[in-house]
Symmetry: C2
Subunit: 327 residues, 2 copies
DNA sequence: CTGAAAGCGCTTACAG
DNA sequence: CTGAAAGCGCTTACAG
């Protein structure tokens, strides 16, 4: 319709040089009139690039993951890329779906993993397919990773409580069976134990609770511990959602927060502010954006990084923590 | 490698008939050995179907949308389809991204919209591209829709409070400017006003609050109203997240719930149980699964429905509501 | 600056 | 039951 060959149309539409201004303008005008948009499926086959990125998450329904996905989608969209989503949550509680070749092969140009510790077969698969990858949270050997320092974050929380005079500090969020494929629980528990020890405090085994990292379970699991006379004076939760569960069970038991019990979390969850929860904030959207930027650099500039990028965390003191009760 | 033509390989791998059992087995074995997976990009170009579905949301970071996306992804995956995600949230608060041809054309086989009221241009676009579409929440003219009955849900909440003797009932969640492109706020507010009128109650204008549908804003916006002597004895929030904000501001003001103030929401948000919030539950995952099933039927069996599917809601009474204070 | 032609890797009638 | 060949709609050297 523009009176030129398909090759010229292709060049004009993609803004390549070596097309005369008049030709380009004519092609653009005709394309507009015809609502012409190049078929991405044909473009992909011919060019070998799909402009699609796989975002892989252990589950989507928790705030942290939804925030990441949203941030990543926006960053990639701004550079003409799309997100195909893989929710690895399986029906069976104790395992997750594995990354497979037909999820990735000729379907995506790159991968972003959200806190998923990849097994050897998966790492090898992504290597074999030659796909750039950026990990958020759990590192993947030999690949770029964006994360916070979980040890520092946990230490910040514990030291805040110790600074308020607490010496009997409990913990909720020990590694549960059903999320054993997630790295974070392990890192945070270890950091908690290390910090407590470094501060010269003791922590009884019975002060360390499991819960499946939900508020509901945290409320349930903490009830027995908080009912005791010799309960801890403070609880560190490994996530804000669990901390909220502890707040709820404390309220049900008639404990005043923070007079009788201090509670802190990690995240700065969307509801933490309104609920007055002291926490260690991480910039979740920032993690997502940083990961997307790293991947885009690998995709667009063929510059694949293998660095670790560690974003800072920040103590946010609200009403849920206060001086340890005296006596 | 299997000693047959590519046509036969194609037929064998896709499980078509008219392939001898021996040939099929040989092809499958060789494919396995070679880690062969057909290129989806070439398959799409040749067959005209991408096996990808666009899931379009006004934003992703709220629980309701993340739940939907997760449910949809799992349903579609079980039938060999993938999800490409479009987060329509824009940097500017007062508008959203529009659906455009290059998001959809030759990229997806169908569309699921999550509570996005489509403008005429968008409806026309999807029509022109010949894509099957299933709407969740906001209906799209001439297309299948899966939703709850917002009017019934809201009526259930209000009648529950009226049944407890409340006559002074406030509302939070009036239509805010920045989410004017979402249908739900309008429907719920209208149903609230209708029900209050039907019950013969009066509701002062000053009892109807805005908030931008977040807990934070709800806490802020409700503080002034709840500080008054002549405050309502109950507040209906149009969502659980806002109800949680109201609970927080009541607690800060020293109001006892439910003795001084009853609060209810709609959703049964993940934290509502642990926080003791009375609410009207909707089956969010059920909405997602139903929508995915409808779309898959259109895709796989060429049977596009235009029905409305209305899922039931259910009153869940917890500790946040009780008899109206006497005197 | 522009075009003809090969090629990306499949699927799908059409023959046999 | 199997194969040869056309076609899906682009991109990309290669000529000119």
């Amino acid at each position: 319709m523009a009176g030129v060959s398909v090759a010229t149309v292709s060049r004009a539409l993609r803004g390549l040089d070596r097309v005369s201004p008049e030709t380009r303008e004519r092609v653009l005008r005709v394309a507009e009139d015809l609502h012409y948009v190049a078929s991405p499926t044909a473009t992909s086959l011919a060019s070998g690039r799909t402009r699609v990125v796989a975002v892989v998450a252990p589950f989507l329904t928790r705030w942290f993951f939804a925030m990441l996905v949203s941030a990543i989608e926006k960053s990639l969209r701004a550079h003409g890329h799309h997100v195909i989503l893989f929710d690895l949550e399986d029906d069976s509680y104790d395992q997750r779906l594995m990354l497979s070749q037909n999820m990735l092969w000729k379907r995506v140009d790159g991968v972003i993993t959200l806190n998923v510790p990849m097994v050897a077969e998966e790492v090898e698969l992504v290597d074999r397919l030659g796909l750039p990858l950026v990990a958020i949270g759990s590192p993947v050997p030999g690949r770029a990773c964006v994360r916070i320092d979980d040890a520092v974050a946990m230490r910040t929380a514990v030291e805040h409580l110790a600074g308020l005079g607490h010496t009997r500090i409990g913990y909720i969020g020990a590694v549960p069976e059903n999320v054993a494929h997630i790295q974070t629980p392990q890192d945070r528990l270890r950091a908690f134990l290390d910090t407590v020890r470094d501060l010269g405090l003791t922590c009884e085994d019975s002060w360390i609770l499991g819960s499946d990292w939900t508020a509901q379970a945290a409320a349930l699991d903490s009830t027995e511990l908080l009912s005791r006379e010799d309960r801890p004076t403070a609880i560190v939760a490994a996530s804000d959602e669990m901390a909220i569960g502890v707040l709820a069970s404390a309220r049900r038991l008639g404990l005043r927060v923070p007079e009788d019990l201090s509670v802190t979390g990690i995240d700065d969850f969307v509801l933490s502010g309104v609920l007055g929860l002291t926490t260690v904030r991480q910039d979740v959207a920032g993690l997502g954006h940083a990961a997307a930027e790293l991947l885009l650099r690998a995709l667009l500039e063929d510059d694949e990084s293998t660095d670790e990028l560690v974003l800072p965390t920040e103590l946010v003191v609200r009403e849920s923590t206060g001086p340890a009760p005296t006596g």
